[in-house]
Subunit: 353 residues, 4 copies
């Protein structure tokens, strides 16, 4: 931590800062330049409020934090990329993983038919919402536990692990019974009690980046899960809120590269929520693959214009089937793989526990 | 709802849209202009996914929603301003209410001394966090139930109702035992299960606007609480996330006026979190009063630079005491009142149940 | 400037950085902590690309700039607040200055009548656009030089200096013939050649903050003008672009306090463009006064719903006349003045050259 | 245009709106629903301030614009994609065009060597700044006309058309003497006089999207150029300003798809300015190709850490040479081409006039 004193700060003000730092058992290195005096703070751990505390002392202009705020999610503490094995599907490996399925689980038939369709096209993880966060209380909010059951059945039948959102600490146990991966939605990205609860559940966790959460804060959200001893965390970029309204959210494609430079965790891109309109999903999906994402999560529905949620952004089976080979070609162009179509399923290569 | 057909849309595409609307038991008014054909949808209720559904049909350019998404929070359903009586403190009345207290409850002494100081200066509601949402898991996270007890005691001793944040549905019951107003933090503004749970608790609820939540979405968050039968909801603007980093958040002062035009609920301004630095708190506080806020919520600490959270933004007792008369003067300048200083307390005018 | 080396950086990498710094004639202070090694750069001036250069060297994690980028606009080089005397109107003094007038100069009658109305209510500077930046080329773009003439005449007749926007370096000379203050619009806030040109024109300059320009960049825009020897610069906050669409822009009320803390220049608030709807203008105007702005700039039109630009946000004469006494009351509440109504004009106290 | 009346609006208010619309020679279609009354405005052209005007009438809740604001840039008026032939380089064709070169022209040697290097790797257009917009007046601002000369010479020697920024209407003529494409920088995206001036210069124009400019406004900027009779306009996405600071700007990858859906103009991606750090440039470049951009513009410098501007984001020759084949592979994966490396130059296939 570096303390920058303001131009006119007095000798006494400098001394007060130094004393304060030393009173905490930390070292203070004084460096007096021509223009500014700076004080380096040496030692650890630094109290979390230290910056704010020092910044409020007279004569201090600002305090610059030097060390990173996250630990477990960073490369310093885990020098190899994390690969998460979910029933044989290796997320974070050289193979790009396709997560696909309906926005909401609406019925058995809808879910099973979608599962077959996406599996046949190349998806490896089945997604589907049973508890749906909705902006208005007057909208469809999911089938709840019945939806979880349907999703799990569809996953078993098609040989795909399943991922679904959990919205409340109270639901973690029941969702974890059915789901192979627990999803934290963007609105709950900084719901710290929920993050800790899923951290304890013993299942892989995918954390969607909140719409106005920085990459650093996203990694700190992951830190909450990892601090519970759960190292199987997946990051998912799904768009930030911006002034642009042509798309539902603004996909921060640069965040893929930033997150991978700062962290060893796999990074997934969700183009569906960012786009908000299906016409934009293919372009954003291909961009996600090319940018280096370890997976894509795409919403698919047998009849999107009858969907009970996110009707405008879900792809049809045909649209998804047409998109996958393009994604595969782009993956190969950058030296990665993307799961082949479902011809291999019969071989039983994937077994879901 | 208005459906705008694209320029080259065919007769058949128009018919398909009309049929779809009619199949839902709704009316479709066709209007063919020189440049565009539009179809008005008449009837109610409109299915929540209708816009997305229609937008995905061939030939449709876009769908414009006409009716408001919120009901209970709007003037249409409640033509008089809501005034919430919390043990005699009338939030939303002509008197501007001061909420003040430490960011976190750190100790009995810290809390009681702050309560006395802010009460003497003119505060009417005591704030203090017992469960603290922190960006990093390695920071001070509050005293929990012990903190609630201290806060409630301090409120009783000084004749002030208390407000504190609840972060999880599981904690609602215990927090409601101690608190007079339940606070939903900005990060939980769209935590819908929590909103419903506090809606059932029978206590007034203050909802902080999330950092990237529109005013409409904020009102829909309030709608979640009100839909549970709880009409005592207070809105609190505390700053949005923007590109500007000089302040911690960007106080959206215009939102005070917008929210009051759209809703009958009281609107409070929290300058402390928006500012992030105490030097900016007075200016933003006065602006909040002048803008027409029904209350201000300000963090105050006996020794901010020793605070365990938000050290940089809390005011000292002296700073708060100096600020209140200025706020009072501004309140009077716009024809409102602000509680007098604490000389009246002894009279027992305020009794906390 | 502080260079933070990455955790695993080698001795050789550190040496390379040190050599590079020294090769530029600057000093390098090495400080090796337990967690990180940092190198302080001492000396001046620092080359403008130094941070980028050093950040690209192997082993460097990041570079932190310590000194401020702006000079002439900061307090260090000008320890007293700047007060700009425009024909007797003292902008930046204890008296808050009202700038008012139509968005566009549309006709002689419209301009003169507005000038009389705002002057009578308490305005001291007449605003009006002759060259209008419009998002679409198919919109009214102002009367050009004829508009300048009308504006200047209206200013003379009512004893008010006038301010108008200049959009191109080519127009600076002709605009400066008519205008007492040259306005740089938000869209041209970083049009550096224009800034330099107005810097040379010998007239006070008001710089509107661009919609996505930080306070620091705004001060650097002012620096461009001041570097030409023109110290009469006024800053004007008129709203930033954000995700919120209820208002046209988001008035960054906190920027008033930030700008005044960083700079000695007067700060004006323009609530009209931020609001975008006249219903929100009074609340935001009062907030601007309370926040400590040195002036307010408000659009007024004899018949706003017939205006050729910004119809939705201009106030009527009656609305403006009703607002001014409220602003005056708020000004007095915080110990400042606001010009009395126009009764004093006849005395000839204000003479425009 | 649709006028939505507020719930409690009176018959008289409705009549006033209808009369106003009719007084402008436009038709008014009244539609009274159960919940709301709406009035459709029929006829054209609509006055530009009509929405604001109507919105300010009593009883009007809001006004919804139905027709698009841009014409010449939209598909309605130009149903085939625009392909711009610049000395044989076809921008907007199936071949993705690489624009590359230094941020600033610093010297003859630096420019020529870069031109050779990028041409050999596959670039087809040489970029280089002679007039540099800089946030601070104390930074290197380009060599001016001498830089233009160097750039043009380098283009001739390597058989590449050149693109360079023009910052002022005054410079358009001289820049157009040297440049094959005129670039409007992001800060000047809404500098309308400059847009018109380049519209008249008879050379292709590339418009960088401003950092807080919506896609619609970007198209309206292009409309300014096209309204001068210049149909050779190229759009360039280079990142928006957001709350995220890990990258210099936030590349809005979704804007590629949106712009291409709304407009027939070619869309280029500039990953260098969005990234701000060279480590992120390859990922964002590949994403741009995969997203469907018609070209990429990448900064390359012989020795980036000695560059006089944008030192942190420019690629070395080796980095660029390594990236191009990856971009080419991605281009082919989506069925497009990317220029082969420079082996063909000698054949004289490209001749610059």
């Amino acid at each position: 931590m570096i303390i920058v004193m303001s131009r006119g700060s007095s000798r006494e003000e400098v001394n007060t800062v130094v004393s304060r730092v030393q009173s905490l058992g930390l070292g203070a290195h004084l460096s007096e330049g021509e223009e500014v005096t700076i004080i380096g703070v040496v030692g650890s751990p630094l109290p979390s409020e230290l910056a704010g505390t020092l910044e409020s002392l007279p004569g201090v202009e600002r305090v610059v934090r030097i060390t990173k705020r996250f630990k477990l999610t960073g490369w310093d503490f885990h020098p190899a990329p994390t690969v998460i094995d979910v029933s044989g599907v290796k997320i974070g490996s050289n193979e790009i993983t396709l997560f696909a399925g309906p926005c909401s689980v609406e019925s058995e038939e809808q879910t099973i038919s979608t599962a077959h369709a996406v599996r046949a096209a190349g998806a490896r993880i089945l997604r589907g919402g049973a508890y749906k966060p909705r902006t208005s209380p007057y909208e469809f909010r999911g089938l709840g536990e019945r939806g979880l059951q349907i999703l799990a059945d569809a996953g078993k039948e098609t040989g795909m692990p399943v991922i679904t959102e959990v919205m409340s600490p109270n639901d973690v146990e029941s969702v974890a019974k059915y789901a192979d991966i627990l999803q934290i939605g963007a609105r709950n990205c900084q719901n710290y009690l929920l993050l800790e609860e899923v951290g304890k559940a013993g299942k892989p966790v995918m954390i969607k980046r909140g719409a106005s959460v920085t990459v650093e804060e996203w990694l700190l959200a992951a830190e909450y899960v990892m601090a519970q001893g759960n190292s199987n965390v997946i990051l998912c970029e799904r768009g930030m809120r911006s002034f642009e309204t042509a798309t539902r959210f603004t996909l921060d494609i640069g965040a893929v590269s930033v997150a991978k430079q700062l962290s060893h965790l796999p990074v997934i891109v969700d183009p569906s929520h960012a786009a908000g309109k299906r016409a934009y999903v293919p372009s954003m999906s291909l961009a996600g693959v090319a940018a280096g994402a370890d997976g894509l999560m795409i919403e698919v529905h047998p009849s999107p214009d009858h969907a009970l949620s996110d009707a405008a952004q879900q792809l049809t089976f045909d649209q998804f089937s047409a998109l996958v080979p393009q994604m595969r070609a782009v993956a190969q162009a950058i030296g990665r793989e993307l799961a082949p179509d479902g011809a291999d399923i019969a071989s039983g290569a994937v077994a879901v526990g």
